[in-house]
Amino acid sequence: MHFPFLIKIHGGEMEKPAIFMRKHPLILFGQSLLYLALLTGPYIAYLVLRDVAVEWLNHPTLGPAVLLLVTLYDLFVLLLFYAAYMDWYLDIWVVTNERIVDVNQHGVFGREIAELQLSKVQDVASEQKGVFATIFHYGLIRVQSAGEKAQFEFAGIPYPHDIARKILELVQADQKWHREALAQEIKGTQ
C-alpha cells in the first residue's frame, strides 16, 4: 500500500510509517455472512413457497419479470458486499514518527483524512470488550489530543493494548526530539 499523504519533516527527511492498521478481518467476515444470507433469500423463499413460486414462474409474463427482479436483487447485494469490502480496506490508521493519520473512506467518491501531531497527544487508551473481541483480540483505541479534534477513535483494531503501547512509545520519542531541538535552538541563540 502506498501513502500519498506522507510529508517532509524536520531535517528535510520524509516521515516514516511505524504502525499501519485496519479493522480486524472478523468485522468484514461478519458483514460478508450477512450479505451471503441476503443473497440466498430469494432461493429460500422459493423453497418455502414452492407452489406459489412455481405458479408465478410458469406464467408467460410474470415469470420473466420475477426472474429479472431476482437477478437485479442479487446484483445489488453483490455490489453492497463489494462496497463494504472497499470501506473496510480503505479505512486505515497510519502512525508515523511525526503524526497519527486517520483515513476514512465514504463511498466511492468520498475520502476524509484527519491527522494529529504526536506532540499534541495527551492520552492514549485501549479497550477490549465482549466475547468475540476477547477471543479474537480486537478492540478500540482512543487518543486524546490538545488539537482542534479532541478525540480520535478507531474501533475493531487488532491487539489494541499492544498498539496503544507502541503509540505511547512513539509519542515519548517525538516529544523528546522536540525538547532537544528546542534546547539546541535556545543554546544557539545565546
Partner: protein
C-alpha cells in the same frame, strides 16, 4: 399494447448502473494500492455478477419477448 421486452429497459438500466458502480469501486480500490484480498473481493464481485447474469440469460432464453406485457383478452368475451 406494450410488448414484454419493455421490461428489459429498466432492467438494463439498473443492471448497467450496478456494474458501473462496481467498476468505479474497483478503480478507487486499486488507486490506493490493492493487494491479494482486494483482488479476491474484485474477483468475487465480477464472477458473482457474471454467474447471476448467465443464469438469468439461460432461464429467459425461451421466452417470447414479443407477447403483450398485459394480457387483456380475458375481458374481450365478457357478457352481462
Amino acid at each position: 399494447m406494450l410488448p414484454l421486452y419493455i421490461i428489459l429497459i429498466p432492467f438494463a438500466l439498473f443492471a448497467g448502473g450496478v456494474l458501473l458502480y462496481g467498476l468505479l469501486t474497483m478503480i478507487s480500490l486499486y488507486n490506493f494500492g490493492g493487494d491479494f484480498s482486494a483482488f479476491l473481493a474484485t474477483f468475487l464481485f465480477w464472477a458473482g455478477a457474471a454467474t447471476v447474469l448467465f443464469f438469468a440469460w439461460n432461464e429467459l432464453g425461451g421466452v417470447d419477448w414479443n407477447q403483450p406485457l398485459l394480457n387483456f383478452s380475458i375481458f374481450s368475451s365478457a357478457s352481462f
